[in-house]
Amino acid sequence: MNHIPVHKLSEYIDGILDAQDNDAITSHVSECPECRQNLLQLQKMITLLSSLKTISIPATFATDTLARAKKQYYHKRNYHSLRGSVFVAAMILVAIITMLPDSIKHDQSKNYMTQNTQNNQRLDCIIPTNMDLNTAMMVIQQHNARVLDFSNSYVIVESDVSSFSSIRQIINNYESYRPNPLSNVGITNMQQQEKTYPELTHANKKKYIFRLQLR
């Protein structure tokens, strides 16, 4: 007599077999002690498993969870409304700044730049030059560099690598000219040692901030 495979016994317990298979197994287990034993063990195990249904969560769980859910909900709602208020305030601020007279805006901008460059001490190097302010500004402008701050004695410049090299090259060439009274440039040659520039600290930087020290 062939024994009943365990998966058939499992399906028999779950009542998902057709009537014919079901009857065949009922009749077989009544005669076969081994299959009957298998069936009883499976039934016992399933009874044990179903008794785990008595495990439960603490009685206050639903109340606690709902309280937490509400807290999260209101927190989120407050966050969204706060975010909305901040956005509106920012828009008003932008509108006010836009409407300010140009002179005030420029002053603020210059102050910010000065603070930024002085406080952070981000200068990569100082390049002494005999150029005057106008000439220096023109050179900087030609090389698409950005003026961060300036006075009659210096210009602080931000530039990319190639602009930095070009500006340095221009200054080198400029310093090597002899004074020409007809050119109206008014160059005074600097001492040789003053033309040796400090080495850059970060050779692989993409941006340089340097100071042109004017005459």
Binding site: V6, H7, S10, E11, D14, I16, L40, Q41, L42, Q43, K44, M45, I46, T47, L48, L49, S50, S51, L52, K53, T54, I55, S56, I57, P58, F61, A62, T63, D64, T65, L66, R68, A69, K70, Q72, Y73
Partner: protein
Amino acid sequence: MSEYSDNELIDRVIAGDTDAFADIITRYQNKIFRYVYTRVYDYDEACDMTQDIFLITMESLKTFRKESQFSTWLFSIAVNYCKNHRRKNRHKVYSIHSAQDETEIQIPDIRQNQEELVITNESLQIMLEEIHKLPDDYRDILVLRDIEGESYSAIAQALHLSLANVKVRIHRGREMLKSRLQQRGLL
């Protein structure tokens, strides 16, 4: 327990009556908890995880399309949450013995007269340990089928499996658990 159907409660929550969610929690809390608990085998952690699952469910209620039973949908959320939790805590090793020492699970002493079967707290503790140690694929399916009494088709929907696959896993899971319980002298 509320007399409202799941879908009626969901509609109320979506309409702003957050208190209606308490009925949903009460209805399914133990089912979800038992599923999580058999996975992590740490009572406190299972409570926290169950709470997270209900919070996620509440936030996602608007996305429930009512094409399936709510319980099936909720269970899918629990399954995904537990999988993600496992992934995040892969390094963490759950100690069966420390979990036992720390928390005394209140299991009523059930005595049944079925072929002289006596179910004691000790035998339930062994059951818990052994079902916790089963591979995920078998544990999930046995919890749903033999603890929660879900139908084959509901299990297939919740776990995104074919009916044939559910049958095979139930059978294999039972065989594996049976052999382990025999080794522990419980069968």
